[in-house]
Symmetry: C3
Subunit: 677 residues, 3 copies
């Protein structure tokens, strides 16, 4: 034992420290680094040394600087118990040769048909075998200077507690500590959501355990994790807790697997929302897009597709525009075997770059030419944040009873409602935040100029009732839509009597009535006719003033509370607009109600631009605008804001777009990136 410890200390001294020093200098451990773009090299037996060398050369030639490799235990740990790392050594050495940094993705033994890897141990022995694998893996590969960091697990997030011994025991132990919900719902009977609460903690625990194991043998090494299918799995992640041991946060964003809430035209805004969720989750640590679909699907993926080169550029610029410190495409070379054989790749079958790879290279070249600009670029916050609550997602899922499909009532209604506002703001040229409640900073003493949108967030957990009141009291603006606040965190209806948000909202709901799939919600005073979905809520106002009346009933109200105010439209006008594919009326509402002072924002569109979006960053004295046109026609986009006095310089435009004064000409599918100084 003494020897072991001694050796370990020496080892750290001799190897880890210098490596770490080197790493610190490179990238992705702080927010001030140049974004690194790369593609995953898929390593499997059958490949030749020449092929492996070629792939790293291709990365280099494309200007790529980073990759990620699945470190399959199956291909290292031999049946006789010995370890043979030679296949992967080839890759690590090639990486050194071409100066590529590698994220080693742990992949303990699993069945050949398990595409994504298991998410939790089966039993104690399995946990031990994982520890043994980590020890061998980490101690071997930390010798390579090409090793950049470790990804302890691929795509955590599993949907439900696995029906396996280890997980069940963990659940039992957890329940003993946290038997009931912290809030008791005033004596009402309630669901306990123990499964859901446990799963959040369990994911965090396992990630932390893996990280600790890695750091036992390779202390200080960067740790990165990629969640996935975030629009469905968000309710399972506790990013603020993860930040405590991660170096950077990441995610997998594959259109064909993960964007079921979107049409193909909406994939760009889907990447945008996904990126914002990661930026919010990352908080004080950097984030990068760990997997971004790079190639074609044959049999894998749900909505099979092959990205166009324009989509590759759009997606890449969106991640950069959301402050990502990097993006790794999945994948560089197609795997030959298993599910996904021959799919997803950025290289063709001759290992030549496809048009998608070339498109990525062109984006990289722009970044390389403007290193400082992009290293220090930060998202220009608009002050508007769309918030979702984990508990709303839990409850929506729990209460499904079947019947005809309605967007707002089936699983997905909560998330799509929030997305509607994010998308509408995007078409207005405004970059909003997209955050879980726990990721929003409710500790400030002044919220003037800040807006929170709560779109059909059916549950506001009791812990946030005071936070929201504080936010408004200190000058914030709250926009409330749909059935927001219908339940507490235990799915108990809190509108029935003694509505805890009555003072803040200025009243309570009289009732919700299901009207129709789509109906018109008329607010004549505001000259608005909003498309609404399913339910129309009526308000029993106490302190609030009506801003919409229908059949003598209040359908929208405004309440002054402290220095701020709450606009309440208890119908699904966000989702209604999204279903109708028309954000015109919703944008008028946001224009009027959100805190959108042109003095604070450098740029936004003068008019709603259906099918467009804009991301805005600031880097020293420069403003960077990234505009993407997903409509079918050329657009002349007029910008407004305090930035229009600055001088534009086109950094990137992939279809002939240009800027003149404050008007940007942009063609279909084009991305245009402008620096304003």
């Amino acid at each position: 034992m003494y020897r072991y410890l001694f050796k370990k200390i020496v080892f750290i001294f001799l190897t880890a420290v210098p490596v770490l020093t080197a790493i610190q200098a490179v990238c992705q451990t702080s927010k001030n680094e140049v974004p690194m773009i790369g593609a995953e090299v898929f390593i499997e037996p059958g490949q030749t040394p020449e092929e492996i060398d070629t792939w790293f050369r291709r990365l280099k030639e494309a200007g790529m600087t980073v990759t990620r490799i699945r470190m399959f235990e199956s291909y290292m740990h031999k049946p006789d118990g010995s370890w043979d790392y030679s296949l992967f050594d080839l890759a690590f050495r090639a990486a050194e040769k071409y100066d590529i940094k590698i994220y080693g993705n742990l992949f303990p033994v699993t069945s050949f048909t398990d595409v994504g890897g298991f998410k939790f141990p089966r039993d104690e022995d399995h946990l031990k075998s994982i520890a043994v694998y980590i020890k061998h893996l980490v101690t071997h590969f930390k010798q390579f200077s090409s090793l950049y960091g470790w990804v302890p697990i691929n795509e955590p997030g599993v949907g439900r507690i696995p029906n396996q011994e280890f997980s069940k025991n963990k659940f039992i132990a957890w329940k003993e500590k946290e038997p009931v919900s912290a809030y008791n719902s005033k004596g009402y009977d309630q669901f306990d959501f123990a499964d859901e609460r446990f799963l959040v903690d369990y994911n965090t625990w396992f990630l932390k355990w893996l990280t600790d194991e890695i750091h036992t043998y390779d202390p200080g090494r960067p740790i990165h994790v990629n969640n996935h299918a975030i629009f469905q799995n968000a309710a399972e992640y506790n990013f603020p807790e993860w930040r405590k041991f991660l170096t950077s946060l990441g995610g997998s964003a594959h259109a064909s697997w993960h964007f079921g809430y979107f049409t193909r035209e909406q994939y760009a805004v889907a990447v945008s929302a996904n990126s914002e969720m990661l930026r919010s989750g990352a908080g004080n640590i950097p984030w990068l897009m760990t997997e971004l679909q790079g190639g074609n699907n044959t049999y894998s993926g749900y909505a099979a597709m092959c990205p166009t080169k324009e989509e590759i550029s759009q997606w890449l610029w969106i991640t950069i525009g959301t402050e990502s410190k990097g993006t790794i495409f999945w994948c560089l070379n197609p795997r030959a075997s298993g599910f996904e054989a021959g799919e997803w790749a950025m290289l063709d079958f001759q290992d030549e770059p496809t048009d998608r790879m070339k498109a990525a290279s062109e984006v990289i070249a722009v970044i390389q030419k403007n290193k400082n600009l992009f290293a220090n670029a930060r998202v220009v916050e608009s002050g508007i944040d769309v918030l979702y609550s984990r508990e709303s997602l839990w409850i929506e899922k729990k209460l499904q009873t079947g019947g005809p499909f309605y967007e707002g009532r089936n699983t997905g209604g909560v998330m799509k409602s929030a997305l509607a506002y994010f998308e509408a703001l995007g078409e207005m040229g405004i970059q909003s935040g997209f955050r879980e409640f726990s990721e929003y900073d409710f500790t400030k003493s002044d919220y003037k100029g800040s807006t929170i949108v709560l779109a059909h967030q059916i549950s506001i957990p009791s812990g946030y009732w005071k936070s929201l009141a504080h936010f408004v009291d200190k000058g914030g603006k709250l926009i409330v839509d749909g059935l927001t606040g219908f339940y507490n965190e235990n799915a108990v209806n809190i509108m029935k009597t003694g509505f805890p948000l009555q003072d803040l909202f200025g009243g309570n709901i009289k009732e919700y009535k299901l009207i129709d799939d789509i109906f018109d919600l008329k607010l004549p005073d505001a000259n608005l006719t909003l498309p609404a979905h399913l339910w129309k809520g009526t308000i029993k106002a106490v302190s609030a003033k009506p801003v919409g009346v229908s059949n003598n009933e209040i359908i929208a109200s405004l309440n002054q509370y402290g220095k701020g105010e709450v606009i309440w439209i208890p119908s699904l006008v966000g989702l209604g607009s999204r279903i109708k594919k028309d954000y015109t009326q919703l944008s008028y509402l946001l224009e009027k109600e959100a805190t959108l002072s042109l003095e604070d924002i450098p740029f936004r569109f003068v008019e709603l631009q259906n099918g467009l979006l804009m991301k805005t960053m600031q880097s020293a004295k420069s403003i960077i605008t990234i505009i993407i046109n997903k409509s079918a026609e050329k657009r002349d986009v007029q910008l407004q804001g305090k930035g229009i006095k600055l001088k534009p310089r086109t950094l990137y435009a992939d279809n002939g777009g240009s800027v003149s004064n404050a008007t940007v000409q942009i063609f279909p599918e084009e991305t245009i990136v402008i620096e304003w100084r």
Copy 2:
């Protein structure tokens, strides 16, 4: 033991007997009482005494006189084994205060997520624990004068034999007594339908057991039961058997849960058919609608909806027009917790009456103003009854093999075919019966003026072959549609050879051919072109005369049999018309073939009124007509019949409708109730 018996006897003497006397005087135990309208008060921990008091006050204010309460064992029986009835005592005392009668609905311990309660015991211990619960519950609450009666179980009817010890043992024991079908199909191999036959008996047994347990402690107390989803579950109920121990029969009719065979415009006729099925099931005992959807759905219900105030009036009047002795809406106040939290209610979140509650009050006021009229009102039988057979439903379900969806071939075809005729007659202004074979009175000696419709009743059990012959022989008219009689009760095809109904029908089928989803069935002599669905049957006539010939094959025939006759159209012309949403041609057929003497019927429409329906009652010398307009336009409805000589008085009209001579002007969604004297 002695002490116990003695106390029990004394208790009965002191309490139960006087209460019973009181009850007898009140209501719903005979057919000559004023209908009682109410709404279910949902009691759960967390509620305050003030709230509970308010709810009963609201009932009183609305003119409501009855409620039903789920007597949750979970909220009375404490973990230490003790019983605490205090929460429910509050309700029973409030009921006494406001003079509201309570149906106590047994609800033994079940999981929090079990919305409707279990339907059968799990094992012997479970059965014993139910008995203990009944003893405690009944002996405690019978002390209240507000207790009106007991509902031994919520919504019996379960779809299949539960995979639990108790049920499986019962099934084994049952099989020993009833191993095979009573009819042996002439030596042909056959399904035994043991599961289905057992389930019918098992439901009856458990209801009877519960009733006996209740009466052990509270003898003579009214017992009421509400079935549910009757269009699907009818095959599981044996109402004639239930009558032997029930005081009154009931049902749950929730549009969002139960009306999947109907569109929203058809919900009124769905309530009508549901009510007729209950009236038929009740026979000599009274019936009431135990649960009628009162409010909005968020996540519960299949086809989520919120009834309009007009629908509330329509549904209420339809139940009254079908001789219901009462209706209880589900529910008065929304439950706060669990599935259904914040849903279904007649009061809003401030405990104020909604427009639906007010609509119900207005109907109640009309009844209260005309107590005698409604107390003694009886359905005016048209002489026409649509019959369905339990066995047809069993066989249809058993023989499903998958493939593309066809209304007439998938589960539901049998019931929808019967409904088609009921709906068509409704649009003609004719109130027909809707009965299971076992509920029809085949013992009369004269059926002149009576018509039975057999629409695609694929199985006519052998026990009814003689009954049907007797019916026709004694002057009845039989209208036969679709594949009626294809099977006996054991799913053996009886048309193959020796068709047992050959003498009655006047021939046999040559063959059925599947033609198309919808095709035209032309009967040129009758100048009819009926829309037909799927199969076209051809007839080998023996004594019958052709009334329709196509390609030299008989497709419709008429047979004289004794004093009556049988019209046989072996194609699905009922369901075909329903699918095409056009009963014009079918109404011509019924006009011609059904026994519709204007001398017998007080009122009917002169012309088919698409989207309308009429219920007709007689009370002493008054005729009451209830007309509902579900079409989108105003209608001027001309009436005919022997009643047009009477003088009309509008009792109720909720949208400006009026009557002048024999013409009723009625607006969309309106219900108009007219007394004719």
Copy 3:
């Protein structure tokens, strides 16, 4: 024991041998017999001797000479262990009386609800009980001269390995012998497809075992087997192995159960493809259509239907035109009990022939009048064969991941792609083969005039790489479509590097890109715009010459290889055309690329005839053409080919069609059969 053996020998001597002699002289054991048409007599208890007699008389009256009977053990083997064959004896004697030959279909005891019978034994005891049943059955019925042959099992083919002891043990034993795929994929990890490979062998094993058991008691008796749902189950059958012990191959082709890949208008071509698959599977032994849908569906069948009399003629002529030595309709008389009661029959409920039965009789009459002609008729091979591979079907099924439905990506894409070419050739009046790879003769030394179509055959097993090269080298033409060759037999992508077909195809794929559900693939040089589905492949040509270029990328190429050539269009143009229901462009391609010398083919259409098909046979000096018109309009079809010099004689035309010179006038739904001499 001695006595037993002796008796057995005597029995064989006295009975079996003469019977066998008789059989040999009759039919269906060689390819030079007159096709025998019949219908299955369904025997079950409850039937009377008179009925059974009637059914055989009806066969006789219709000119039918063969039937098949399910020999239910359940109806012979009594509860006390004794055997009572009397019910079936009635049938065998009636067959003798009316000179009908019987295929006895083994049907060991199974549950009443098991419509098709089990496919494998449950355990060793079950296997033994089957052997006992065979012994009793065979030794008893071989005494009848009406016994023609045995069908050892009904419709083998089960989809997956049964989860039963016997099958699992067999699998374990099999795995020990064949642990891994024969081909090792160059060291790449791979699926083993052990389940699929085992199931093929297991089916063969059980058929052989049953055959051996039968022959133990009735040596030399013809053995016939009918597979089913062949478009789905083909991957489970190894016909070349079956040929070794079968006398003839058969199949069940029921439109309502089996033709889910087709619309009703396509059922004729479905029968055609099904027949070709059987002809190919049969190889050197005769084949017959064992079950062909004869009547109406009520609840059984997926896409319920009733064949028209025209369809009966079409299907019958198609089987004859594909060299079938007979066809047996399912069924003559409707069974009375169980699933299928009252369905499927050729007789009506009065046991009178339906119009379908009469239509069959008319076809039979033509055959009887031209016995020699049809006895010796052989399919005129066009030289074109569409090939499919078992492994493509396995892989397609294995790799399903869900998501939106796409024809080419979901299960069925491989088969439908092959069918597209078969259908297009049919509309050109060309009869192509439709074969599994293992059924094609790759041993010839000259393939001039031969074409193989590989349409989206995603896997070409390694064993055929050389075969295909040999075929082309020796003058064959290969037409390659879609993702053909994407995988080897272990689902390893072989296009990545070192594509083994590079020399043959003249290059490799650069990449496939999913474009859209349908897109235009333009080949301007050929003046073609082919509708394509999902993926567009681009080619890296080595020796091949581009014949289509899009965006500077090769999308179609032509490679000379030895004496032959390969045309390669790596997009789904076959399936694209099928989805668009328009083979015009594809026919131009085939016209140009397939080896369609008019000097070799006696007849084909001058122009593409949408909705028509033609089968061509030769018998001595006569050519027989069978043309079917499934379009909605009358057509004047011009023929070309070396046969137009011959003189036509109309043998059959069921709707007034005629022939004049080389132009055939044919009405909708008509079948016309012409002899040319």
